[in-house]
């Protein structure tokens, strides 16, 4: 469904130019979750930003159902709608002065074909219910909500346009521990209910192991290992994956 081929992205000019993504290829199939892991500077966020169209690659193909995605602006509306992103910091990705109902309405105005045909209020309440929010939240401004509620609104905004691929960039990292597991469960439930594919980016190997079917490991712009999640994390082939696993802390008692 999503296919990224030989992606190259670089930033800066002349001598300061450096390659953030270097020849990365990956795929995400229907109903599949691909976990993309790596440390800061590995290029995982840049890959996500190319997929949603916020960054223009130097070269390489990003295809959705075999059709080129292209950057936002030149991306056909139907494809733009199909790929939605949930950001790390829900507070800065929502306008704090907009009401929740206005946030969702804006998504529907951008993509009218995804808006409910009948009663918009009923559609809005259905959507909020879908992400575990009370209908009364619709009247609140984003700035009045807790971090977990904000992230639910961000997810509702993404879902509002009926996407097929959800790109989650550290979507639970900024949340409280007890709220993190709520949002993870919500993402997995929604994925099953709405037949979504997910590109799930995280530095937390444990979380990725819980929800990804396959895992791709990036280091300094290069994809170093890729495979079935349990294989990669229980029997890593690349030295870098091994070093990530060795550094990861476990709660089970160690010596």
């Amino acid at each position: 469904m999503l296919e990224v081929r030989d992606l190259d992205v670089s930033f800066g000019r002349a001598r300061r130019r450096f390659k953030a993504v270097d020849g990365v290829s990956l795929t995400v199939g229907p109903d599949e979750t691909l976990g993309l892991v790596g440390e800061s500077g590995s290029g995982k966020t840049t890959v996500a930003r190319v997929v949603v169209g916020l960054v223009k690659p130097d070269s390489g193909d990003v295809l959705f159902d075999g059709k080129p995605l292209g950057p936002v602006g030149r991306r056909p509306a139907s494809l733009q709608r199909a790929v939605q992103m949930v950001f790390q910091d829900p507070r800065s990705s929502l306008n704090p002065r907009m009401t929740v109902s206005a946030v969702i309405d804006e998504a529907w105005r951008t993509h009218p074909e995804s808006a409910p045909t009948g009663d918009r209020t009923a559609g809005l309440h259905q959507l909020l219910d879908d992400v575990g929010l009370d209908a009364t939240v619709a009247r609140h401004r984003a700035g009045e909500l807790s971090g977990g509620q904000c992230q639910r609104v961000s997810i509702a905004r993404a879902l509002a346009v009926k996407p097929r691929l959800l790109v989650c960039d550290e979507a639970v990292s900024a949340l409280d521990v007890s709220v993190q597991s709520q949002i993870l469960r919500l993402l997995v439930d929604l994925q099953q209910r709405h037949h979504l594919s997910m590109l799930f980016i995280s530095h937390d190997l444990g979380v990725v192991h819980q929800i990804a079917d396959r895992i791709a490991v990036m280091r300094r712009g290069v994809l170093v290992e890729e495979g079935v999640a349990t294989d990669v994390l229980s029997d890593p082939q690349h030295e870098y994956t091994r070093s990530l696993l060795d550094a990861a802390l476990e709660l089970t008692k160690e010596s």
Binding site: V177, V179, L244, L249, L251, K253
Partner: protein, 322 residues
């Protein structure tokens, strides 16, 4: 057991829109010399405020109660000049974001040596000690790197520089507030190892504030779990994490996934963490608690002992620890 710091019924009230808010409510625990206490909590739990009270960094308008007994004197009662003398010398702090905590306009070496220069030490001694500290905290080529500015350091190196700075005053107690939260896992592992080595070698007492049970498990001898400004439970790390005596701790432990094996998603707690400004009646945790009863709604549980060194604020802890 000798005690380095005794936090006894600590109370912190902050001014709020509708009157003062009790952000730290009767918090008690001890830190023995040469041990690390992990202070665990989510946002609004009061963990950072507790640490800030110890190092005298509470915001303006804060009112305190209870006592902070430090080597025989109550830090909440001593004079301002004595508190300044304690801060940085006897008790030092490491912050989460070294880039914000370090001065961008001064070289790393100058900042690490500042406390020594202020103490009137001769400059060659200051220089020798700075290089020693940078070397001790694992900064390569200390002589060269001491002339660098913080922005020329990587995140991990900056955190090492801040640890060097904290150690410069030869403290007996080190407070570390989320010292590795902003770091990559491989860097985090190295910084935690460094903190553990230093703590052991120097016989330091350490208070490690974190939201991450894995970090606390890795370095702390004792754990204090806070919820909505109060202590939920405290006790020795291994016992507390393997058999929590509070349903909140239990939920936190259950939510931590294993890395090498696939863990099923935890059953999440409902709702969001209670905040001191909006604290439920009785046990503050009752609206989210899977074993709450009527008593939990009406009566605030006292912190009580339920086993060797195990203290909990749950009416029904026996059902958890057996």
């Amino acid at each position: 057991m000798t005690v380095s710091l005794e936090v006894a019924g600590l109370v912190v009230d902050l001014p709020g829109r509708d009157g003062p808010v009790r952000v730290v409510d009767e918090v008690s625990f001890d830190i023995a010399p040469a041990t690390t206490v992990g202070l665990i909590g989510e946002s609004g739990s009061g963990k950072t405020m507790t640490a800030n009270a110890v190092i005298d960094l509470l915001p303006d308008g804060a009112r305190t109660g209870g006592a902070l007994r430090w080597q025989g004197e109550d830090l909440l009662q001593v004079s301002a000049s004595r508190r300044r003398r304690v801060r940085g010398h006897e008790i030092a702090m490491i912050f989460q974001d070294p880039l914000a905590a370090l001065n961008p306009t001064q070289t790393v070496g100058r900042q690490v040596g500042e406390i020594l220069r202020r103490a009137g030490r001769p400059s060659d001694e200051v220089r020798r000690r700075v290089l020693e500290l940078l070397d001790r905290t694992g900064i390569p080529e200390p002589a060269t790197r001491s002339r660098n500015y913080p922005h020329e350091f990587s995140g991990g190196m900056r955190q090492r520089a801040m640890i060097a700075l904290a150690l410069a005053g030869s403290p007996a107690l080190l407070l570390a507030d989320e010292p590795t939260t902003a770091l990559d896992v491989t860097v985090q592992a190295r910084i935690l190892r460094l903190l553990r080595d230093i703590q052991e070698d120097e016989g330091l007492a350490m208070l490690l504030v974190s939201h991450d049970l894995r970090v606390v498990n890795h370095v702390a001898h004792q754990v204090v779990v806070m919820y909505a400004g109060r202590v939920a439970e405290r006790g020795p790390t291994a016992a507390l994490l393997s058999k929590p005596a509070h349903p909140y701790t239990r939920a936190l432990v259950d939510s931590v996934p294993a890395v090498r094996t696939r863990t099923a998603l935890a059953h999440p707690l409902p709702g969001t963490p209670a905040t001191p400004a909006n604290r439920p009646s009785g046990c503050a945790f009752h609206p989210r608690c899977p074993i709450a009863r009527e008593l939990c709604r009406t009566e605030q549980p006292a912190v009580r002992e339920v086993g060797a060194g195990r203290w909990t604020a749950c009416h029904f802890a026996e059902e958890l620890v057996g």
